[in-house]
Amino acid sequence: METPDVAWLAIAPDLALALAAAVVLLVEVQWKPATRALGWITAGGLFVATGLAVVQWFIAADAVAARSFSELSAFSGMILMDGYAIFGRFALLAVTALGVASGWQFFKDLGRRGAEGLALVLLATTGFSIMVSSNNLIMLFLGLEVGSIALYVLAGLTREDKKADEAAIKYFLMGSFASAIFVYGVALIYAGTRQLTILGIGDFLGSFIVGSPGVILVGIGLVVVGLGFKVSAAPFHTWAPDVYQGAPAGIVGYLAGVAKVAGFAALARILLTAVDDFDWSFLPVVAALAVLSMLLGSVMALVQSDVRRMLAYSGVAHAGFILTGVAGFSVDGILFYLAVYSVQLVGAFAVVAAVSGSSGSTSDIGLYRGLSRRSPVLAGSLTVLLLGMAGLPLTSGFVAKFGVFADAWFNGYQWLVVVAVVASVIAFAFYLRIIVIMYMEDDEAAPVAVSTTVRWVLGIAVLATLLWGILPASLLNIVADALPL
């Protein structure tokens, strides 16, 4: 009997994560250790997965340069180990590590349920990691579902909290609806092309005259809608503010970060490698979504009085900026943006969690009054991260925006760039509002304690924001190698 060609390395990081999740659960059942021990197992799993991803990166370096499909594909072309997949994995692992560390208090407070939380985090990351590396739309869907379902549960992990329950239900209903739309889109694309692999679809559309373009067109549209939900691009963003606000503060950063990274990585891969040769370019639709997201996100964020809702709408605006990069065919721009933004997002939510308490469900902007006096570390970090999200120069956010804007302009979307820069200025206003409250208004409320893990998370996030802003080549050189096959 012929043994199938299993390139274990291609999924080694994912296996490590899934294994760690299993170990966490088994150890919990058997020994009921302190949450700290489970945390170390989680950290170990993440560490091993990252190490394996680094190994992949260096082993694949030559093949990546040669763009050799046979060397970079595994499981009969289901999984790819191209630079794009590995970089996406790096971003996911970084968000996971920072997210777990910043929400550590939350996992500790969960008591015996902490193990479930950690295992779910590891499983979600496994799913999304498969999603960013899969070449097959069914495989991609499986990864998406593994990740999404884990996230729905995470959102409602504090069962006692009504608001979290509501958020989880909302997230679940909207999310599964989006998944259904996505899979229907996949079915229609298959109907039109008889292909399920992304590269196969690309070859098909590039070399044949399509008999039934309408079916494919609707299929692509549905895939965009489905993933648009996941990345909270307008008008499919309605779940985001409620979920960001309702879910436990300690986990929101992770939840938002991974969904965005994985969703956009998959969306960009499909739009830019599978259907880019299609007779009907999808970029105008993407541009329209980008405009809607940027303007709606920025304007709605202006009128929020809850910091988490504000960050949710700012996330919608960021989805718009990233879509500008998709319209600009800017793979490196998108990856850079995702890495930069997800780190800032997790860092910002680490501050939110510290201010509202790990499972607290209110983040009213009033809580931040005079924070610069009460906790200079939190206020200072949040300021840098917000300025980074706003895209001020010398932060990574500026480089990220510049990258996608420049590519969009070069790809003929000049008008989109003009809209985008105006939207960024609108966005300044609400980021500044938080900074104003923290620095320019005084409040005698108690100081906010900051745990060591949160300090580390903030230190890393702030350092990354400044380093990639001042010396962007440090990340851009890596991103430049991370192109999809």
Partner: protein, 509 residues
Amino acid sequence: MLTALILLPVVAAIVVAVIPSKRGEIHLPLGIALSMLPLALAGYLFWVFEPLPGYQQTVDAVWYEPWGISWSLGIDGISLPMVVLTALLVPITLGASTSITKRTKEFVVFVLLLEAGMLGAFLALDLFLFFVFFEAILIPMYFIIGIWGGERRIYASIKFFIYTALGSALMLAAIIGLAFSYSSEFGSTSFALADLMEVTLDAGTERWFFAAFALAFAIKVPLFPLHTWLPDAHVEAPTAGSVLLAAVLLKLGTYGLLRFNLALFPEASVDAVPIMATVAVVGIIYGAVVAIVQPDLKKLVAYSSVSHLGFIVLGTFALTSGGLQGAVIQNVNHGLTTGALFLLVGMLYDRRHTKAIADFGGLQKVMPLYAGFFLFMTFASIGLPGLNGFVGEFLVLVGSYASLPVFAIIASFGVVLAAIYLLWAYERVFTGVPDKEENLALQDLSTREIGLLAPLAILVVVIGLFPSILLDKIGPSTEAVLDHIESTTDYTTPDPGRLDDVFTAGGDS
């Protein structure tokens, strides 16, 4: 060398930042001492500067190759005076900030970071780098106004930020567009000023790009009708903020018009002369008229800035040697005199906690030294011969008379109006009998305050009497700007407009 000039204030800011806040009294003196280093370096640069066209002391290091961005710095006759002015004013403004008692450390850090940003913006020769500095400046200034400002500081700081950010955002789009045009023409990407000057643009695109750049700079200057953020920002900002805002930040606008608009879009610049000159002249008259009726001394000086900066823009778009030289030297002059006036207003406010003209009267008797300095700076600002303001305004008016006689004539009324609003304000504040009880006990200038004002006063006289010290260094660079415009468009400078005319005529005979 230029890299060091930008990094010195950053290092100074870090040094100040790491000293714990408990030692409250040390931050300000330390900041002043450390800000002497960039000043010394700037002075040295002025000393070694050769009066030649082109950039000197250039630094060029690749930042990120594929995007064609680089850490590219250089100094020429247009940026040199601004660099020296910036380095000079920072220690002075810090010295004038002893009334800032809350969060002194952060204040010093922000002022030093602001200095780094301003120096960087004047030195940058790469448009990406310039934009980085141009925009980064907003952050420290935003905090300076927002934390240490007056009652409506938050409104003023956000208005300042959003207004200027909107202008620069469109400029960013134009910069990207320009780089795109470069890459379609030459096949590689570059943001270097020298490279982008080579791009051939079709007339429509060039006008759009010119408009985007001009909008960004016009908001910064600010030109009528985009000036509404300025009085708010000035009035609410603490003294140091007002001084740096008026003396340096606004100059980024006039500097940008001269350095980037004229160089990158010569054709559109020539076409835009009537528009820009009209806006400038309207600003001159409008600012002056509004200044006359201001009841608040600080607001009066703020509106006088709107008027004075109109002269600089008029000189720039006169496109003659006199106009350009006048614009550059007036950049410096306005920085010195308006900076000094803001310092003086701040000193009065420290004593009396009001800036309303009506609250004063007869101060001459109570504070003779203060009144003397105020009158001196007033004369300099009006343009009394022998003081610096005269040189700049004279050059601008002569230069613009050659190319835009009607505008020059209207603008000259601005000088008259300046005499009215400043002298009338002086009369109301200083002359007469001190009739208000609170004013009788006001202290005259302290030694520290005299020490802050004296360097500015000396420079006012020196530039007034020996303008050639500056003009010799400015001249070659402004001539180069005109040469560039004449060689890329069919514009010819009207007859007595070029300095060279005089020299060549002499050589031929």
